[in-house]
Symmetry: C2
Subunit: 210 residues, 2 copies
Amino acid sequence: MKERILAEAEQLFWKYGVRSVTMEDIARRLGISKKTIYQHFSDKQEILQQVISGKITDSETKADCLTVHATNPVEEILMVLDMMRKNSGQVSPNFLIDIQRHYPDAFALYKQHKENYIMRSILENIQKGIDQGLYRSDINPPILARLRAEQIEWAFNNDFFPTNKYDMLEVQRELMHHFVRGILTEKGFAVYNQYLNQFKHEVERVQPNA
Amino acid sequence: MKERILAEAEQLFWKYGVRSVTMEDIARRLGISKKTIYQHFSDKQEILQQVISGKITDSETKADCLTVHATNPVEEILMVLDMMRKNSGQVSPNFLIDIQRHYPDAFALYKQHKENYIMRSILENIQKGIDQGLYRSDINPPILARLRAEQIEWAFNNDFFPTNKYDMLEVQRELMHHFVRGILTEKGFAVYNQYLNQFKHEVERVQPNA
């Protein structure tokens, strides 16, 4: 039952944000009583914390798997973007805005994930890229890792990119590609362009059937 | 007298930040009484507002002048970086941290400058670069202009780049060069590398006499 509650809450949060979803809503959708929910969770805040922390574990597992399968750091970073696209495609901007503004404990979980996992992954990616001659050796990895880590959050910033004017995934894509291009060597650009072409063909192959 | 007070206050603010500088300090340095200062300004806040707004006008004038003299958008963006280096070299991080945290009215002046002047200048630079084939035509100018405008502030962010670990000017330099590289075409890279070499030679020429 606990897993069903979490899964249903996640769906509702993604779609409508957190503030507008009540315990009543979750119970109704599952055809159970609010009392049953309270047997497992003390309040909505607790459900949210568990949803977020499950999502973080999930995304770390997926990203680690990509890292193992990527043939080089450029491919790796493009695969992570693709993963973000697939993962956050269904997430309403309301959800992300709610978390940042009204649920500091949940946002703290993300911040922790950013400071530990995300920062470390980016630094490792940059170091590998430099070692393989794909990224410039004259860059400052900690400064650029911080840039990249903050950019991910930025795309969700409603002051910078109001959701009525910008598409969040387009902002993520633009910032990520700009980030990669800013660190590539000539050899790196060759690899990058190759992946871009490959990716474009895939899009072209998919579209006629979409 | 008003100009002397502003000039002296500016020097003190730059060096020690705003919070730790008193009206007493400013009067003492000028060899005048606090009463004389109060004939011109109602409080420290008013002095600060006039210092900041003078500085903003000054930097807009200088940047406009660079834009007129730059032979292309790549040179222009590198000249602006050089101007920032010269202008903010003497500014203590305390000053910038004080403004952001404790003087919202002064910070609002900067924000206004950013939203109007800085954003417009960057967008114009990007558009010129695209028109001249130096910047990629597949970039999204408003998203990247926002990225660049926020980066300037970022370098002063003590949470991201603590002043005991990072040199503010080095952060500015790294972010600016990364930004430019991320938008250059092959033709743009040729121009960029040429300026880098030129600039390196200048540094080499200057250092032995420094």
